[in-house]
């Protein structure tokens, strides 16, 4: 097994074992989760949970304050309460949960802060020259500081894939450490952009480097590159988290992002997390979905469970 020798901030050496991933095994194992059938009450519970784990996201060049405000309103009340209340009362169910966080560009953080005041919903901001990560470190740190100062409670950073792919692991490690420092109290999610890494071995190595450098969460993708999140890639990252937890007792979170559009997929991810990391990770503190289209599909399925009718997603919101 190859060992990557890095140096910690305090000068101490850090040895990371480059784990070889069994590609066929990972794919087979991930495929296994697509064959489950989760129904009725369990399905409803999973839908509620998935909804509470969503990072409602808008990361477009065309984002406007109005669009972000609209998204924040949806984050608080994914479905207008009076629209669903009668159905919930009939089944004696709790209210539909708000999403975990909204995810926006740094310039939109103030808008989100204002719109979400007092709601307890997290404000995640992408930073570090998202989505390419191709900017000088100073700029990335400044980008991060700006977002945190404006009120972001979570920072989604991208790793320097150029450096990673050319083997400059120390540079990648140092950048994450620096950004983590710039984050202060804000949670740091490290985006690996697995679609650009090319192999599960590299995904695993990037996960290990990010975790060792202090990531609170590791995240698959920016959503700007295909393939984005897939079950096998997420499984490889979850395994890295599991191994780290076994070694150190520290819990690192996971956020698959991009390409998760249906409730069916979301439930498959939840099963996989439960079976790889256990019940502790079945909370928005340690697991998130980076998605925007998923929310309406979750609502559609919740309505289906409550009313027996297939719904039209535009009923909930026109995004």
């Amino acid at each position: 097994m190859r060992t990557i020798s890095l140096q910690k901030e305090n000068g101490f050496p850090l040895a990371i074992q480059a784990v070889s991933v069994d590609e066929v095994g990972a794919t087979e194992r991930a495929d296994f989760f697509t064959k489950r059938s989760v129904k009725k009450d369990s399905k409803l519970a999973a839908l509620y949970l998935a909804l509470s784990m969503c990072d409602l996201t808008t990361l477009e060049g065309s984002d406007t304050p109005g669009r972000v405000q609209q998204m924040c309103a949806k984050a608080r009340f994914p479905v207008p309460p009076d629209m669903i209340e009668p159905h919930l009362q009939k089944r004696n169910l709790p209210p539909i949960p708000a999403v975990a966080a909204v995810c926006v560009y740094p310039s939109m953080v103030p808008v989100a802060v204002k719109a979400l005041a007092g709601s307890g919903i997290g404000i995640a901001s992408v930073a570090t020259a998202f989505p390419s990560g191709q900017a000088p470190l100073e700029v990335k740190i400044e980008d991060t500081r700006f977002a945190v100062e404006k009120g972001a409670t979570e920072i989604d950073m991208v790793i320097n894939r150029g450096a990673f792919l050319s083997g400059r692991y120390q540079e990648v490690f140092d950048e994450i450490v620096e950004i983590k420092r710039a984050c202060g109290d804000a949670h740091l999610k490290v985006i690996l952009e697995t679609g650009e890494l090319g192999s599960y071995d590299r995904v695993r190595l990037a996960s290990d480097i990010a975790i060792e450098a202090g990531a609170d969460f590791i995240k698959t993708s920016t959503g700007k590159v295909t393939p984005a999140a897939t079950l096998p890639v997420t499984l490889v990252m979850l395994q890295a988290i599991a191994d780290h937890h076994r070694r150190t007792g520290k819990k690192v979170g996971m956020k698959p992002a991009g390409g998760i559009r249906t409730s069916k997929q979301a439930i498959q991810y939840l099963c996989m997390v439960k079976e790889t990391l256990g019940t502790d990770w079945m909370t928005a503190d340690l697991f998130r979905f980076g998605a925007s289209a998923l929310v309406n599909d979750l609502l559609k399925q919740i309505y289906k469970e409550l009313t027996g009718r297939y719904y039209y997603d535009k009923v909930f919101s026109i995004d």
Binding site: G308, R309, Y310, Y311, Y312, V315
Partner: protein, 292 residues
């Protein structure tokens, strides 16, 4: 070499029966439920083929496929839609033998009746193909209003339409209604009745080779009794065309359709007419201010 068949003889004897599957999103999947029922020859009651019994989930999948296809279909130029529907007529003509064989074998039509039925279906396709770039002028209007406004009405597709075929299955009426629905840019999810289920094969193959965008027409075979209510319940269907002769079912569907204000349309005496097409368009009236 006596007793040994020649290659020619052997291949001649080798008859490959066609598996009749569903037609969803331009593909030919089996039903997700895995269920099938036999269709018997009308005369001898011997097995003709096995057909899929579509489930509620197949309907859902079909609606999803139709939903995805509808916008693209609507945005094609009217002239292009016309060409594609005309092409459907051409392909149906080319498949005439298959249609008539299926009609005579499973529905018990005489060859003359079967041919007439195919003729009428083709005629309906040509009729609506011709209307594709004309109905807008006929149905649209510039309205006289008192005031400084230019007021005009234009038509738009309603979206995804459910079509439930008649219990006895009338090919011409079914195809005519299908064309009336899609000509204005709607997508359709159609349920062939038990009697008509064997016709799914030639129909789907006609559609699949007509340059029609995938998912614009989706065909399900199965039990009308089991599925008709689901058509009424589904909130993503914006309109229903019900050819059932059972008036109780029609009433039930009207009640179910009220929840998301689906328009429910049922057949008239005429085989084809502009009125049928009107059942699947929305009218949009615009008031545009003008100066004096």
């Amino acid at each position: 070499m006596s007793g040994v068949n020649t290659l020619k003889e052997r291949t001649e004897n080798l008859k490959i029966a066609k598996t009749i599957k569903l037609f969803i999103g331009g593909e030919f999947p089996r039903t997700e439920s895995g269920r099938s029922v036999p269709v018997y020859l009308h005369k001898t009651k011997k097995l003709y083929a096995n057909v899929c019994v579509a489930s509620r989930k197949d309907l859902r999948n079909a609606v999803t496929a139709a939903q995805a296809a509808q916008k693209g279909w609507q945005s094609k130029s009217a002239y292009n839609r016309s060409q594609i529907i005309y092409r459907m007529a051409e392909m149906m003509e080319a498949k005439r033998e298959e249609f008539t064989e299926s009609l005579t074998a499973t529905l018990g039509l005489t060859p003359v009746q079967a041919n007439k039925s195919v003729d009428a279906a083709i005629e309906a396709l040509v009729y609506y193909a011709g209307f594709a770039d004309k109905y807008q002028q006929v149905l649209g209007a510039v309205n006289p209003v008192s005031g400084p406004h230019h007021n005009f009405t234009s038509t738009e597709a309603v979206g995804v339409v459910g079509l439930i075929a008649n219990e006895k299955f009338d090919l011409a009426a079914f195809v005519a209604q299908l064309a009336a629905i899609i000509v204005s840019g709607n997508a359709v999810v159609a349920l062939l009745s038990e009697n008509g289920s064997a016709l799914l094969a030639p129909l789907a193959e006609t559609l699949a080779t007509s340059d029609l965008s995938k998912g614009v027409v989706n065909l399900l075979s199965g039990s009308t009794e089991e599925l008709y209510k689901q058509f009424g319940l589904h909130m993503e269907l914006q309109s229903l065309s019900v050819q059932l002769s059972d008036s109780k079912k029609l009433t039930e569907l009207k009640v179910l359709a009220a929840d998301n204000m689906k328009r429910v349309v049922w057949p008239t005496e005429q085989p084809v007419s502009l009125e049928h097409l009107m059942g699947f368009v929305e009218f949009k009236t615009v008031w545009h201010p003008i100066g004096y």
